[in-house]
């Protein structure tokens, strides 16, 4: 790409920028549907496959793609994502390669919201938060999810991300106190990420009343200010319907997808299996209409 093209590309991105996430939620809300957010670890099983898998996810109906940049010590993640991070790191995946992946996806999907998920140390390394946010923006990223960056430590991160027009998605938990929840809502952009259970990422068998209760509670406080997306452990269409009934505006499917990848690594039907799984979840996401 020569400089001119690069600048043109960048200008185009700036125009859309965080708007992609907001636009997506507007469209879905008109259709009365719930957002389906699908997660992949960049470089698991390898970078080339990650790109192919995004194609599969998008075709199957994913509304937003979340890309995980592997970190050596992911304290909020269970065995599935830990394992995928580990394998990706063995494949020598690094943030630069992850951002290059996003840039290729951005070219292919100009309107697709793409969010990075990683840990704070990756973001502050190599020139600091500002440099990382800038590089992300240039690659076509729309926002960030950083599970170990809570609002107390996020002053600089919020400042540089919002200046760049990128979304800062903060997490809330079932035990978050009301006053703090209000502050999290006001500091989040794109959407709010509500953790549905006490625990780390990974498939859950079923959800308890606590989950529905906390979704209702957060929705009451957030009103129409920001979409509320739930994640951690969602692995079946019935989970999705459960979250929607409680009022969720979106669901994040992460470990469940990685589990399918892991158990079909060498299978020629991996793509088909992911496709049919995601289509099932997508159908459940339409059930807001029912």
């Amino acid at each position: 790409m020569n400089t001119d093209e690069k600048e043109k590309g960048m200008a185009g991105i700036t125009e859309l920028s965080t708007k992609r996430i907001d636009a997506k939620f507007r469209i879905l809300s008109k259709k009365n549907a719930c957002a389906l957010i699908c997660y992949l670890v960049a470089g698991y099983p390898n970078i080339r496959m990650s790109e192919v898998l995004v194609d599969v996810l998008v075709k199957a109906g994913a509304d937003i793609i979340e890309i995980g940049i592997p970190f050596s010590d992911p304290i909020a993640d269970g065995p599935t994502i830990q394992g995928a991070y580990n394998d990706a790191l063995k494949n020598k995946v690094n943030p630069t390669k992850c951002l290059a992946l996003v840039a290729r996806l951005r070219k292919k999907y100009p309107d697709l919201p793409i969010i990075l998920m990683t840990y704070s140390n990756i973001v502050i390394r190599e020139g600091g938060v500002k440099r990382f946010v800038q590089r992300s923006k240039e690659s076509g990223v729309d926002g960030f999810i950083l599970p170990d960056m809570n609002i107390d430590e996020a002053h600089l991160y919020i400042k540089v991300a919002s200046e760049a027009g990128l979304a800062t998605v903060f997490l809330a938990s079932p035990n978050t106190k009301k006053i703090r929840l209000k502050s999290i809502i006001s500091k989040s952009s794109g959407f709010l990420y509500l953790i549905t259970v006490f625990g780390v990422t990974g498939a859950q068998k079923s959800f308890q009343n606590l989950t529905a209760h906390s979704i209702r509670r957060v929705k009451r406080l957030s009103g129409s200010k920001i979409p509320v997306v739930v994640g951690f452990g969602i692995s079946k269409p019935e989970h999705v319907r459960y979250m929607i009934n409680a009022g969720a505006d979106g669901v994040i499917i992460a470990s469940a997808i990685l589990d399918i990848i892991k158990s079909n690594l060498k299978s020629p039907t991996l793509g088909l299996k992911i496709k049919s799984f995601v289509e099932g979840m997508k159908t459940a996401c339409q059930s807001k209409n029912l």
Partner: protein
């Protein structure tokens, strides 16, 4: 004044609380409870009772005459934390935090352990105070610190092996944090070093500062003057015995403070744990501190002959003390530590932990450069019974080498 840190949850720019949201209410609750009880006389007298009647405080400050003569320099004193119940300084903190756990009405206690000393300390405190304990330990450490593994089990603790990452202390902390996120409502996380999210580095420092306070009084009694030691030396892994030793001296500018990290097989080998010497600032285990990491921010695999120092980060207060140059952080290799281990055993009849041997080794060099009227205090953080197997191997290799020569 340096002793007044932290302010705003931080030691200068270090520290903070980089944790998932689920843990924020638990850390708030812990901080509130700690601030309430730390000055409460009933809490303090209960802690004092257990420290004196059960753990064996105060520990002696022993004048190591033979070692002093051998080095031919400053007078060397040993702060005998190795004589505490459980065999290490860890119990100062585990008793304090277990009493806090009781006041928070948490019946289940979890902890991480590297060398197993903190695991043993936690198991002991929980046994005597009627709490249940589960200890996370890297599977690599389980192999090299077998005696402590058995001790924890005998004391009624459940030991959970950790197979992820480098299978050492770092990964044990990750796994303990994951457990805490999952069981936060019923569980107290008893961190063993001056690391982790605020307020842990403060709590651990405060409970361990009894080491430095006793040294201060004991050295005065010994010299019958108001003289303070000229130098104080402690080993630094996460840094709990070191910060406990240093903190009461931080504002005494005429006392030289020396923290000794594990140089392992040397900086060129890449196999070491000398975080402050050769690391750079980063975020791990909920804190901003010095970290051994690659240029992308992935945490490095560390090495040390002593499991207790085999950790890629360090307590955030040490990071501040390094930057302001109040403490001199230096290193000692595996071989030098092992030699100091052998020497102290023979000269003074004291078998030190391999961790503490790092401090002994550096202090011997330092003593030689100091005057005969000067005093140097080494904190002997633990005893070396747990290390006899490792030392047996060391001696066998050494014998082989000398035969080949």
């Amino acid at each position: 004044m340096l002793s007044s840190y932290p302010t705003d949850n931080r030691f200068g720019k270090y520290g903070g609380r980089y944790v998932p949201e689920t843990l924020v209410p638990a850390l708030d609750e812990l901080e509130e409870a700690y601030n309430k009880f730390k000055n409460e006389s009933f809490f303090q007298s209960e802690l004092k009772y257990y420290l004196e009647q059960y753990a064996g405080r105060p520990t002696p400050l022993f004048f190591a005459k033979n070692l002093t003569k051998y080095c031919g320099g400053a007078r060397i004193f040993l702060k005998r934390e190795d004589l505490l119940h459980g065999g290490a300084h860890k119990i100062n903190n585990t008793l304090g935090q277990a009493l806090l756990a009781k006041r928070l009405r948490k019946k289940r206690v979890i902890a991480e352990t590297g060398a197993g000393q903190h695991g043993v300390g936690t198991a002991i405190a929980c046994a005597v105070l009627g709490l249940s304990s589960e200890i996370y330990m890297g599977s690599k450490d389980m192999k090299r610190q077998k005696p402590n593994l058995t001790r924890m089990r005998l004391l009624g603790a459940k030991v959970n092996p950790v197979h992820s990452g480098s299978r050492t202390l770092k990964d044990a902390i990750n796994e303990a944090l994951r457990d805490w996120i999952t069981n936060v409502r019923s569980t107290y996380y008893l961190i063993g070093s001056a690391v982790g999210p605020h307020p842990y580095p403060v709590i651990v420092r405060d409970f361990q500062s009894i080491i430095g306070r006793e040294i201060k009084m004991q050295i005065k009694e010994y010299s019958k003057t108001s003289q303070l030691p000229d130098a104080v030396v402690a080993c630094v892994g996460g840094g709990s015995n070191a910060i406990g030793t240093f903190h009461p001296f931080i504002d005494e500018s005429n006392v030289g403070l020396y923290g000794v990290e594990a140089a392992g097989k040397g900086i060129k080998s890449g196999k070491h744990s000398a975080t402050l010497s050769w690391g750079s600032p980063g975020i791990i285990h909920g804190m901003f501190t010095y970290l051994l990491q690659d240029k992308f921010g992935q945490v490095s695999t560390t090495h040390s002959i002593s499991a207790g120092l085999d950790y890629p980060a360090v307590g955030p207060e040490h990071a501040l003390l390094k930057d302001v140059k109040r403490v001199k952080y230096t290193q000692c290799t595996d071989v030098d530590a092992a030699e100091a281990f052998l020497l102290l055993s023979k000269l003074e009849g004291i078998i030190p932990a391999l961790e503490s041997s790092h401090a002994v080794s550096y202090a011997m060099k330092l003593a030689k450069e100091m005057g005969r009227r000067e005093n140097i205090v080494i904190t002997l953080s633990g005893r070396g019974d747990k290390d006899v197997e490792v030392m047996q191997k060391y001696l066998a290799t050494k014998d082989k080498k000398s035969q080949n020569c």
